[in-house]
């Protein structure tokens, strides 16, 4: 199934809200670090329910916010959650960004980037649309070091690019972005059941679950357009 079809299905089943809730645990920390100034134009790549753009409007007084998703049902759900006329959702593809050069101040992306069919092309598109000094906050839970994520493509049934931390840095640089920082944001909010409830449906051991959320958490790579 294509990524678009898969996520259209997720959206029509209302699973966009479940992702929002789970991802918020770490996404909010990434969002809080972004150097968004009042009035800035912000892009959310693979916006899902669109929560990130709405949050940056509220917390950082962002100006215009664009949430972009390849799945029309996702964009449609996202749109239904807000009346804010400064927030726009659109259907489009990471590798074919419909934005003018240097038109975006900052870009955020949570758990979406690795679905790009060619992530290198997606990065050059981003480097093109970001103005000099604009940042790309790229957050992913699926990456090489997080061994507990390796089976996801099989589980979800779509292809995903699994880069290591180093490969993320290198790919950003190859696309002409400076790498300003990288780290893992632990998920301290996920409920980890007591030991006697393991194995659970998803976790063989409590130690694995702790490692997944507290040690690997969310990998954040921050790029800056020169």
């Amino acid at each position: 199934m294509s990524v678009r079809e898969e996520f259209d299905r997720w959206a029509s089943e209302g699973r966009d809200k479940g992702m929002e809730e789970r991802h918020w645990h770490t996404a909010k920390h990434a969002l809080a670090r972004m150097p968004v100034e009042p009035g800035d134009t912000v892009l959310d790549l693979g916006c899902g329910s669109g929560y990130a753009g709405r949050a940056l409007r509220e917390t950082a007084d962002a100006g215009r916010v664009y949430g972009l998703d390849a799945a029309p049902e996702m964009a449609s759900n996202a749109r239904s959650y807000t009346d804010d006329s400064q927030v726009t959702y659109l259907v489009s593809d990471f590798e074919h960004l419909p934005f003018a050069d240097d038109s975006v101040d900052h870009c955020f992306s949570m758990e979406a980037f690795y679905y790009a069919s060619d992530p290198h092309v997606a990065l050059s598109e981003l480097a093109r649309v970001l103005r000099p000094g604009g940042t790309f906050y790229c957050a992913v839970n699926f990456y090489e070091e997080n061994v507990h994520s390796h089976h996801w493509p099989e589980m979800v049934g779509v292809e995903m690019t699994r880069w290591s931390e180093r490969e993320y840095r290198q790919a950003f640089r190859d696309a002409g972005l400076h790498v300003a920082g990288q780290d893992r944001i632990p998920d301290r909010e996920i409920t980890i059941p007591p030991a006697d409830e393991f194995p659970t449906e998803n976790w063989a051991s409590r130690a694995d679950m702790i490692e997944r959320y507290r040690t690997y958490g969310t990998l954040l790579t921050v790029g800056v357009a020169p």
Partner: protein, 64 residues
Amino acid sequence: MREDLMDIICCPLDKHELDLEVIRRDDDEIMEGRLVCTECGEEYPVEDGIPNLLPPDMREESPA
């Protein structure tokens, strides 16, 4: 979508400007319409207020 989106969007294929053809408006939102590339002539639909700027081959990859 609102009309001021035109300030920032462009054709996803050749990055040229788009023209907006409005079919239906709802206050200051464009609910149905077409975005047409001033260079390559490719058309992108606006449906239920949401512009679909996928490249045409991705948009039609399966029936909606």
